[in-house]
């Protein structure tokens, strides 16, 4: 059993707050991904769990044991670094064996563990080589192997795929997923790439400016973001935002802006009541917009001018100008030929409309 529990963790560097009041319980064998832009505190959090940084306040426990005062070596964790961090002066075999040798494990046992890890990761032919003779992908596999051999309570990943090219990254993502099934271990994975977060995580923690914004399963975050930041960070292409003014209408609310005029029913958007007369932001994912008018029930429509089309082969992504801003429409038939300046109508089911308070960014429910 190795759950990781962070309680009111805070980290400051002088006057700079890196992580503010973070509380999170990571269950045994759970794979949690910390995601956010650079400087959001995600790596600092990981390094605090690893023991490479002290916490300014709060406690961290691994497997029901508070580890605040413990050295990294005593926390029974393993970590994969962005730049692999392999010991350059040792062979791959020695790299894998290093941790076990430090713990005075018997040589035969070390050999078995190293060969087993090498087999799992298909790096057996590389065991006698030096790290600098390996490609980036191979080095990252060795780094993963170094974690596996130790059989630790927790795996920590610090942006392990960032240094790989796009193709290799996609492949390693799959390998990490596969590895999870073979070696189920509590894992904390840090990345700035929302695709990695969505594909790998059981749960995702979105962070910004040292503050935890939302924790939830990938689908929860995608479907019910708690604020505009989470909504914009998760999903690709990013969510469209349109600032509008809300006024009360006979059966609901009227949302108006330059080029936008929508009416939303009271019963579905009761939360808007408190925002009448104020500015709110509509959020719509590019994938949820469909070409055509809002003929169907429970749909709202927008109309604008096509500015740019991006042909991706299986779909087109359009940039459509509505009022002064552009929104993106994904999933458009790739055969459709749309000239710049063409007027088009797009519609979105009301279920897929997100509303945020413009001032605070919080979701309106």
């Amino acid at each position: 059993m190795a759950e990781v529990v962070l309680t009111n963790v805070r980290k400051t560097y002088g006057a700079v707050v890196a992580v503010e009041d973070l509380s999170l319980a990571i269950a045994d064998h759970e794979f949690v991904v910390f995601v956010g832009p650079s400087g959001c505190g995600k790596s600092t959090t990981l390094r605090m769990i690893a023991g490479l940084e002290d916490t300014t306040r709060g406690t961290i426990s691994i497997g029901n044991r508070v580890v605040n005062g413990l050295q990294p070596k005593d926390r029974d964790i393993a970590m994969v670094f962005q730049n692999y961090a392999l010991y350059q002066h040792m062979s791959v075999y020695d790299n894998l064996a290093f941790g076990l040798r430090n713990r005075r494990v018997a040589a035969a046992q070390i050999d078995a563990a190293v060969r087993n890890a090498a087999r799992i990761l298909s790096i057996e032919p590389l065991l006698e080589r030096r790290p600098r003779q390996l490609s980036g992908g191979q080095q990252q596999r060795v780094a993963l192997g170094r974690c596996i051999v130790r059989n630790p309570k927790v795996f920590l990943f610090d942006e392990p795929l960032s240094n790989l090219d796009a193709q290799l990254r996609a492949q390693m993502r799959l390998e990490i997923k596969e590895l999870r099934q073979r070696v189920p271990t509590t894992s904390v994975f840090v990345t700035h790439d929302q695709v990695e977060a969505m594909t790998l995580g059981d749960r995702i923690v979105v962070m910004k400016d040292g503050l935890m914004q939302q924790v939830g399963s990938p689908l929860e975050l995608y479907r019910r973001p708690v604020n505009r930041f989470v909504a914009s960070f998760i999903g690709s292409p990013a969510m469209n935002f349109i600032d509008v003014n809300v006024t009360a209408a006979p059966t609901g609310f009227r949302l108006r802006a330059d080029g936008v005029d929508l009416e939303l029913p009271q019963r579905r958007f009761a939360g808007l009541g408190a925002h009448a007369g104020r500015a709110v932001t509509i959020g719509v994912r590019p994938q949820h917009l469909r070409l055509g008018g809002a003929g169907e029930v429970e749909h709202v429509g927008l109309s604008g001018k096509v500015m740019v089309t991006e042909q991706l082969g299986d779909e087109q992504v359009l940039a459509v100008r509505i009022g002064a801003g552009d929104i993106r429409v994904a999933g458009v038939d790739p055969e459709l030929s749309l000239a710049t300046g063409t007027r088009i109508d797009v519609a979105v089911p009301m279920d897929n409309l997100h509303l945020f308070d413009t001032a605070s960014g919080a979701a309106i429910r």
Binding site: A50, G51, L52, Q71, P72, K73, R75, I77, A78, M79, F81, Q82, N83, A85, L86, Y87, Q88, H89, F98, G99, N102, R103, R146, R150
Partner: protein, 284 residues
């Protein structure tokens, strides 16, 4: 219609490019040989002088009488033998002692932030700003007051101090080039902070360390000013002994050259041994 203008080619480049590829190579080779000769010639002249009898040193290019008597004569002098040994011992000790400090100090400057590294860095910086010559006189008084004037320690300690100031920066550069996450990985893999330094960072710094060791050794081996002021009869040092062949009765160039050639030997051995590391070290 647009016109394409020719960009003017610099004259020197034009000359070089006008040469056929083979010609360029020959030109380059010639330049390299000329440069090597420029540096090798004084050494050649020194060796030549050391092989000439005393009366012929001013006419090295004339006459053909060569002799090994000069070597016999200087090796017959006890002070030269003693100086050879002293210089060797002090160079080696100074290298070992100063590297012990330099490595840890360079590591600290590279990896740690805070008051102590900042103050230490400041101190080194200030020392480096002061002209080297101005330390000699104070050091003379200090070594006298400490009672170590004209002893090994009297020369060793100032040398170690100078090396630490000069080489901590270079060592910091070496460690800056080594990824710290390697040490973090070692700490997670079961090492303490010291263990990570000794078992992971230090082995990775070996090329730099070797380069520094050689530079350190050669520096002390060739150093003259400290040796001249801080030692007397008890601790003869090779560079000082060499200079003493110039005295009120004349200049014994042949003996001085012979001693210099003797001094060249160990330095040459050290350099040949560590050449590859020095070059690798200088690249950083």
């Amino acid at each position: 219609m647009s016109t394409i203008e020719a960009t003017p080619v610099p004259r020197s480049r034009f000359f070089f490019e006008a040469l056929a590829p083979g010609g360029r190579r020959a030109f380059f080779l010639l330049g390299t040989i000329a440069t090597c000769l420029l540096f090798a010639f004084p050494v050649f002249w020194l060796v030549l002088t050391s092989l000439r009898p005393g009366y012929a040193v001013y006419y090295v290019h004339r006459g053909s009488d060569f002799t090994l008597d000069n070597f016999q004569e200087v090796l017959g002098q006890e002070i030269v033998l003693k100086a050879l040994w002293n210089s060797f011992a002090i160079s080696t000790l100074a290298t070992v002692l100063s590297l012990g400090v330099t490595v840890t100090s360079g590591y600290m400057l590279s990896r740690f932030r805070g008051t102590i590294p900042t103050v230490w860095f400041g101190a080194i910086y200030v020392f480096r700003c002061v002209p080297y010559v101005s330390w000699v006189l104070p050091l003379y008084f200090v070594t006298r007051a400490m009672g170590i004037f004209d002893t090994y320690w009297g020369l060793l300690l100032p040398h170690v101090a100078v090396h630490i100031c000069f080489f901590s920066w270079i060592m910091k550069g070496f460690f800056d080039g080594i990824d710290p996450s390697m040490e973090y990985a070692a700490m997670i893999d079961g090492c303490s902070r010291w263990g990570a330094f000794l078992r992971v960072a230090l082995p990775a710094a070996v090329p730099g360390l070797t380069a520094l060791a050689i530079l350190c050794w050669l520096y002390t081996w060739n150093e003259f000013l400290f040796a001249l002021i801080l030692t007397a009869q008890n601790t003869p040092i090779l560079t000082v002994v060499m200079a003493q062949f110039v005295h009120e009765l004349g200049m014994e160039w042949h003996l001085m050259s012979a001693t210099a050639v003797l001094a060249l030997g160990p330095a040459l051995i050290v350099t040949i041994f560590g050449q590859k590391y020095v070059i690798r070290g200088l690249k950083i």
